[in-house]
């Protein structure tokens, strides 16, 4: 099988000795119309990968900022099919940037996993992160996604034992998403030293690139964490901008925010 868009992207970054900048926003937040322009703005600012959150009524692993973004998107009536339409619309003018869908299992199950995988593949999505899908339960999803040329990114955490890390690595593809601390998204608990030790241990379990997320909010934290891994994921900081900025200023504000992250990573 040929390498997926996500794998090619991460390999190219590694070849260029650059750190991956993976940016998260919630689809449909604050309006459905805002999402595709926001995705392009992330890319203009220097994002390598886009994680598009699929809103869910009960985001039990997320902190207040992403909970609120989910609520805003659901208040707009955002559905999974519409999220896939957004991906397809983004693809009409950007065929290079990998797009991952991130969400909770119930929404995908409702569409049907096979139907979801094929619809997501058609829309031009490159992979999926399901917060509440541990590797033990992931075999079906992985197979369905792989058949569409998509990756299943799995999470590892500070509580992950070496045995679990090996199991996670054996199921995951694309990259491993290392959750930097015990907590929900956006909490102020980042400890770069601890992250460094954990990533080093995780390297023993996997050849996959390791991207670190949770608690990375600005250029300084991005740079410090990226130095320890293959890249970073930034979500809450961007989602907060989406919630606060006047709608017509969202693209410009996001672009500037991502550019400052990019510059810190490249410095």
């Amino acid at each position: 099988m040929t390498a997926t868009r996500l794998v090619r992207c991460l390999a190219a970054l590694k070849g260029a000795e650059r750190k991956a900048l993976n940016t998260f926003i919630t689809a449909g937040d604050p309006t459905k119309a805002a999402t595709v322009p926001a995705m392009h703005a992330l890319v203009r600012g220097g994002a390598d990968i886009i994680e598009l959150g699929v809103p869910f009524s009960d985001p039990e692993a997320d902190g207040p900022a992403i909970q609120l973004s989910s609520e805003r998107a659901l208040a707009e009536g955002t559905t999974l099919r519409e999220v896939l339409d957004m991906v397809a619309a983004f693809r009409t003018s950007d065929t290079a940037t990998p797009v991952l869908l991130m969400g909770y299992l119930n929404v995908l199950l409702k569409m049907g996993l096979a139907e979801f995988a094929s619809a997501a593949g058609r829309a031009g999505a490159d992979g999926v992160i399901v917060v509440n899908l541990p590797p033990e339960e992931a075999a079906d999803v992985k197979e369905l996604l792989a058949a569409q040329g998509m990756d299943l990114v799995l999470l590892a955490a500070p509580t992950t034992t070496p045995e679990r890390a090996r199991m996670i690595a054996s199921v995951a593809s694309g990259f491993l998403y290392y959750v930097s601390f015990r907590g929900t998204t956006g909490a102020n608990l980042l400890d770069p030293k601890a992250v460094g030790q954990s990533v080093t241990r995780l390297r023993e379990a996997t050849e996959l690139p390791i991207l670190v997320g949770f608690g990375i909010r600005d250029g300084d934290s991005a740079r410090r964490v990226a130095a320890l891994a293959d890249g970073v994921v930034v979500g809450t900081a961007l989602v907060t901008t989406m919630g606060e900025a006047p709608p017509d200023e969202i693209p410009a504000r996001l672009e500037a925010q991502v550019r400052s992250l990019r510059q810190a990573l490249d410095a």
């Binding site: 692993a61 902190g63 033990e136 992950t160 959750v179 015990r182 907590g183």
Partner: protein
């Protein structure tokens, strides 16, 4: 195909003792573990400690002694003659879980889980609560063991269950209002999961029902099965026979599973779980996922849930905060599918009528949750001969609901 070919495997299956869940925590298609990676190790640890302690005679002895000397078990099985006469039909016995310390069955589980927490060296306890009964039961065992205790409770439930909120505070627990989502039990559970993921190293999460990720549905069932073990022995001793029917209300389903499970291999014993019909199933304003929901994944388990066509969990309604929940324990989902139990529903209005009826006929004030079971049992008794015996789980007492009932009556207390 010959009849023998068809029948033989079926018969063997029927004769095999019930042994769910499997090692991965599945009851048939339901259960499992659907949580963030951060919690997986804690669930593994909890499973290991639980399995180890199940075979530990000293642990069992301590649990049983706590149930007898602290909780006040065994609870009576009481033959409700006047209630049965009112129904006109089958005999009705009430399993008096309302007589437990703190007034509900919830304490059976919290006593057991507190012992687990101590064994794991956890110094902090968290819990979610709807009606406040589980919160009170958790705050109670935390006080007794000197553990720090935080209880998450939906802001709407705090309003309708203010008595229990104050009880928890008197017990030294901190009650944390949850203002997200529908501000009820499901949101309290989301928030408890967020707390647990943040403080997992020193915190044990005492889930109050047979819900959540494996091993919770199993371990809560095991701690609550004392209800059915006692009821079964009491039936044989007092009535000289096993019951024909067991009835219990189902929110998450812990009092029902606690009563039902010890009877699972008694083929002649039928079981009905009663969900909250709210304003009526047809209105959509209810909390009856087994009657009107479909399989999904919520709060760590695959189980029946109430969601919309896009998989979003929908708001529920019940007059009883303890049943106001869009999911249900996965073992009940399994039993619905295999037909081991049936699941009915009772509306707010019918539950209120049963609340009043039990007060007037037996001098017992049931919780509004338990009133759902009473309502169903009375209707079912009327359809059955006098020779039939129905056992109803009177899972909690109704003092906490006096305010809600008075509000319905337009009385300000």
């Amino acid at each position: 195909m010959t009849p023998t070919d068809e029948l033989e495997p079926m018969t063997q299956a029927n004769l095999a003792p019930y042994d769910a869940p499997n090692a991965a925590g599945y009851f048939g298609d339901y259960g499992g573990r659907f949580v963030a990676e951060t919690l997986m190790h804690a669930l593994d640890e909890l499973t290991a400690v639980f399995e180890e302690l199940q075979g530990d005679a000293a642990f069992r002895a301590e649990f049983e002694q706590d149930l007898s000397r602290y909780v006040g078990r065994p609870t009576p099985l009481y033959r409700a003659e006047r209630l049965a006469r009112h129904a006109g039909g089958a005999a009705i016995c009430l399993k008096r879980e309302d007589l437990n310390h703190t007034g509900a069955h919830k304490i059976n589980n919290t006593v057991g889980q507190a012992l687990l927490a101590r064994r794991m060296g956890k110094t902090r306890i968290i819990a979610e609560t709807g009606a406040g009964q589980h919160g009170v039961a958790t705050a109670t065992v935390a006080a007794r063991m000197g553990l720090e205790c935080h209880v998450y409770m939906g802001a709407e439930d705090i309003r309708r269950q203010s008595l229990n909120v104050y009880r928890m505070k008197l017990l030294g627990a901190e009650v944390i209002p949850v203002n997200s989502g529908s501000r009820t039990l499901k949101d309290a559970m989301n928030e408890a999961m967020r707390d647990w993921v943040t403080h997992v190293d020193h915190t044990h999460y005492i889930i109050g029902s047979v819900a959540g990720p494996h091993p919770y549905p199993l371990l809560v069932r095991e701690f609550q099965s004392v209800i059915g073990v006692e009821a079964r022995a009491q039936c044989l001793e007092q009535e000289g026979r096993l019951p024909d029917l067991l009835v219990a209300c189902v929110g998450g389903g812990s009092n029902a599973m606690g009563l039902f499970h010890p009877f699972v291999d008694d083929e002649g014993v039928d079981m009905v779980g009663v969900e909250a019909g709210g304003l009526g199933l047809a209105t959509g304003e209810h909390a009856a996922p087994l009657n009107a929901g479909n399989p999904g994944v919520l709060h760590g388990a695959r189980t029946y849930v109430m969601d919309d066509e896009d998989g979003q969990i929908v708001p529920t309604h019940s007059i009883s905060a303890g049943l106001d929940y869009p999911g249900v324990g996965p073992e009940h989902s399994h039993w619905k599918d295999i037909g081991r139990a049936r699941y009915g529903s009772v509306t707010d209005e019918e539950a209120l009528a049963a609340f009043r009826l039990l007060n007037r006929t037996e001098g017992i004030m049931p919780a509004l949750e338990s009133s759902h079971a009473i309502a169903y049992a009375v209707a079912e008794a009327a359809r059955r001969p006098a020779s039939d015996l129905i056992v109803v789980n009177l899972s909690g007492r109704g003092d906490k609901d006096i305010g809600t009932v008075a509000e319905v009556d337009g009385i300000e207390l």
